[in-house]
Symmetry: C2
Subunit: 406 residues, 2 copies
């Protein structure tokens, strides 16, 4: 494969994770090693930045800003939720992208995101190949939801799992303060996959964790839930529940009080299920109950990253550049678990189309028989992903984050 001289266009898309900027760091560091790469240009707010010609030029950033990417949550370069139409239906955005690619001599397009972002990536790859523009397109996985197929797990998940398990421990210990406690229901992100919700169960290894865990993978019965809560509360005078925002009834209808609003991808906006269940516990069972919603803190908690996750996020960024330089295209980087104990990983590449638009759910064997807890198989899977710490760069008691120059 001949060397392809040009610049990298990198972008972030979809919901942020606490380590997506570590993948950007990996891309930047690896790019510096390859002579055929001129510079790394980053789209502001993902693909919208390319369409609007709004960029960050990595050469113009100072080294401290780049180093701090490993400690910066959110999407430092801006993210977007934007669904590209198929170019055969409407090619206006693609013509604009082609103009930008040519203007900035973009020969490497690296897009960092989840299912929907891989869809965007696949469509651009399809178009560029169709019009025969020489460009290598690689997807870099990220999502706290851990629902991407093809990869053993997704960067971003380990840190969110670490935050959730440690915070559940703290909530549990805090609850134990009072002799006659409450039912506390914690709502955890994850639209269709219970990977994050299941991570709450790690807390039980410490002796302080949730009594009940409800997954979107198992149809949720309000009656069964109330029986479970009643039983635990009767025994312990306390009950800690972890519940996915995405639990549905037998018919697949969300239990949450959906606002009825859909996002750009047609997904219903969720939230409020814990509060709904807490109200039901209080009024139907007469047991004092309250709800906690982690909200964006679970994906933004840079101060409680998993070092394993940070290192893997950097590695997938590096691997994307390496693969593209080697001539690969139209593929997503995946993490393969080669061994679990000791934990060992490798990387592979998978078709973008295969990775887009399907969601990997928690297998039934990782959820207990009653559908209200995790099994050893889940623990064996998740524990290696939360190992190690990446202590924040505190200055005067507060963290330092990257401040990028436009």
């Amino acid at each position: 494969m001949s060397k392809l001289q040009g610049n990298i266009l990198y972008g972030q898309s979809g919901g942020p994770t606490s380590v997506i900027n570590s993948s950007a760091y990996g891309v930047i560091m690896e790019a510096r090693k390859h002579k055929e790469i001129g510079q790394v240009i980053v789209m502001k707010h993902g693909i919208k930045g390319a369409l609007n010609e709004e960029f960050f030029f990595i050469d113009k950033q100072d080294e401290e800003t780049i180093e701090l990417l490993k400690h910066t949550p959110g999407s430092a370069f801006g993210s977007v939720r934007f669904k590209l139409k198929d170019f055969r239906e409407d090619d206006s955005n693609y013509l604009r992208l082609l103009y930008i690619f040519k203007k900035y001599n973009i020969r490497y397009f690296l897009y960092n995101g989840g299912n929907d972002s891989m869809d965007t990536c696949a469509k651009i790859a399809d178009y560029m190949s169709h019009i025969d523009y020489d460009c290598r397109i690689i997807g870099i996985p990220k999502t706290i939801d851990n629902d991407l197929p093809c990869t053993d797990h997704t960067p971003g998940y380990g840190s969110a799992a670490k935050f959730i398990s440690n915070t559940m421990m703290e909530i549990c210990y805090d609850m134990l303060a009072y002799p006659n406690g409450k039912v506390t229901i914690v709502e955890i992100m994850g639209r269709h996959a219970g990977w994050l919700t299941g991570a709450a169960g790690i807390a039980n290894l410490s002796g302080f964790g949730p009594d009940l865990i409800y997954f979107p993978e198992v149809p949720f019965s309000v009656e069964k839930f109330k029986e479970d809560v009643k039983r635990v509360y009767h025994e312990k005078k306390q009950c800690l529940v972890a519940v996915s925002e995405g639990i549905t009834n037998e018919e697949g209808i969300f239990i949450s009080s959906s606002s009825g609003m859909k996002d750009a991808f047609g997904h219903f906006q969720l939230g409020g299920v814990a509060s709904k269940l807490a109200t039901s516990v209080a009024s139907d069972l007469g047991i004092p109950s309250r709800s906690v919603e982690f909200g964006s803190t679970q994906r933004a908690a840079a101060h409680l990253q998993s070092l394993t996750d940070v290192n893997e996020a950097i590695a997938v960024g590096r691997h994307a550049v390496e693969a593209a330089v080697k001539g690969e295209s139209d593929l997503m980087v995946a993490i393969d678990r080669l061994n679990n104990d000791p934990y060992e990983i490798g990387f592979s590449l998978h078709s973008l189309v295969k990775c887009a638009n399907t969601e990997k759910r928690v297998p039934r064997t990782m959820i207990n028989e009653q559908g209200n807890g995790i099994t050893q198989e889940f623990l064996d899977y998740v524990l290696p992903l939360i190992q190690g710490e990446n202590p924040p760069k505190f200055k005067g008691g507060i963290q330092q984050f990257s401040k990028l120059k436009d």
Copy 2:
């Protein structure tokens, strides 16, 4: 003053903080230094443990458990909300306490709590003095709310302030991911005092913090709030708001959707104000809005303690023992700020009655003129309290907490 030979009875009361167990550690460590002290006995669930004769014996705990108290949130020995009647009204509980004090040779009674706990402490001191039982009674301050009078600040506040400011930074950075953002309204604890809510403003030192902060000390106008939000959103397409759970209107009526339920001290249970305001922003202003409630995580975040706070919590525990051994009684230990830069503190003792039942609120000079932000005076006050870190004792990715033997 002659030496008083006997045991210490220690207890925790009121809402937990992430460092109250460090005060227990201070008591235990200091007690070991004094020959007149036999052993430290800890009431299970505060004063209720004494009434029920339920104790933890520190001599029976292993050293690792005691060391881990410095990293353990919640009330490791159990807490309680229990209001003692005046003994002149009903002395049944006091007779029971006297029996217990005599049975276990309690000559030192140390009670760790906030306003209400100092009230309990004062009443017991009043009774013991009345019946001439020789016992030294010292209050040890704690409360995340920082609303105790007599003391410059309260152990527990610094760590909660650190968690709130760092988490606000993360939420803010996360929000910036999208070009057309939302109004995010974060609800922060503090019934009548805005110390914690104001701490959200520290985040702005990083460049990523709340645009608006609303205190219980300033009457809240929903109309003024909507104007503020509209102005910020118009300018930035984002707006991050920190709001105290305890904001009231001009007439002093809580804005929050009170459940109408009161706790044992006759306080209304609060919560839900952020969600109420978010709904108002969405429906009245047509701006997408969401709410975040930190809930118990803000007082339980042992993983993000301020080292200054931990050390001061230990010190007030030590000082309480020292003072009691010296013959002091019926007093609360207070922290005096001797100097701000460099930060230097000392300790003093104050009448329990003076410390009980009154709340120290944020002075108007620490809140900006518009009543929607903090001043430099607030920053100068709070910054020394969040300095330094006390990294968690992680084992396999999760924290280790004390596991006490009954």
